[in-house]
């Protein structure tokens, strides 16, 4: 088991009433897998089914990126800045 930190924004921040979560996961778990597990806890399907992008340690990564101990994973719902 490794420890990772999760960063939440916008709808997910509201859904979890938190902007950071800490989780234990199996070493090498993909970011996609972590997100899928986490989103099971979100009752609103409109939020749980949002397509996600991922960033680890402030860099975008692909869905199959495998996590290491201490990684900081951001779950990025569709955004529309400007």
């Amino acid at each position: 088991m490794i420890r990772i930190e999760l960063l939440l924004f916008a709808q997910l921040k509201e859904a979890f009433a938190a902007e950071r979560l800490s989780r234990g996961v199996r070493e090498g778990t993909t970011v996609e897998r972590v997100a899928a597990e986490l989103l099971k806890e979100v009752p609103d399907p409109a939020i749980a089914r949002l397509p996600l992008m991922f960033a680890v340690n402030e860099q975008y990564v692909a869905a199959d990126y495998r996590l290491s101990d201490g990684d900081c994973l951001a779950l990025i719902t569709p955004f529309a800045g400007g």
Binding site: L7, F9, A10, Q11, K13, A55, E58, Q59, Y60, A74, I76, T77, P78, F79, A80, G81, G82
Partner: protein, 142 residues
């Protein structure tokens, strides 16, 4: 720093970009509209993954500087609560010639929309609010 919690002082930021080497200065201001699809808007709350947003903006500015013959490329994006009528985004480009300035300015905005993690929650006069998705933007715009 491209991201700020404070109101964007447009005049000062533009003044710093002016210089006599360049014939063209193009600025874009994104302003929070008072109305959206017929609903009265009081403001927008901008959430932001600040560390990644700063990195991405730095990358975007560098990238545009290599793709276009431009001189100054500067960006300010305000986050937090922004009232209707206030400026949320300022992009400034100077270049020897205007075509490059216009193209680069638009490229910066396109890239911001695609790559910079900033979320908008529109607040309405009836006290409701809604997180906007990219689909809420007009096609190829907003």
């Amino acid at each position: 720093m491209f991201i700020t919690d404070e109101p964007i002082i447009v005049d000062d930021t533009v003044a710093r970009a002016r210089d006599t080497r360049n014939g063209a200065l193009v600025t874009f201001e994104g302003v929070v509209r008072r109305e959206d699809h017929g609903r009265r808007v009081t403001g927008i709350y901008y959430d932001c993954y600040r560390a990644l947003a700063e990195r991405e903006l730095e990358r975007i500015v560098e990238d545009v500087r290599t793709r276009f013959t431009v001189s100054v490329v500067d960006v300010r994006h305000r986050i937090g609560e922004v009232a209707a009528g206030e400026t949320s985004l300022l992009v400034i480009v100077t270049a020897p010639h205007r075509k490059a300035a216009f193209d680069a300015c638009q490229a910066v905005i396109d890239d911001i929309k695609k790559c910079v993690p900033i979320w908008k929650k529109e607040r309405y006069a009836d006290h409701r609010a809604k997180w906007l998705s990219p689909q809420d933007a007009p096609r190829k715009e907003a």
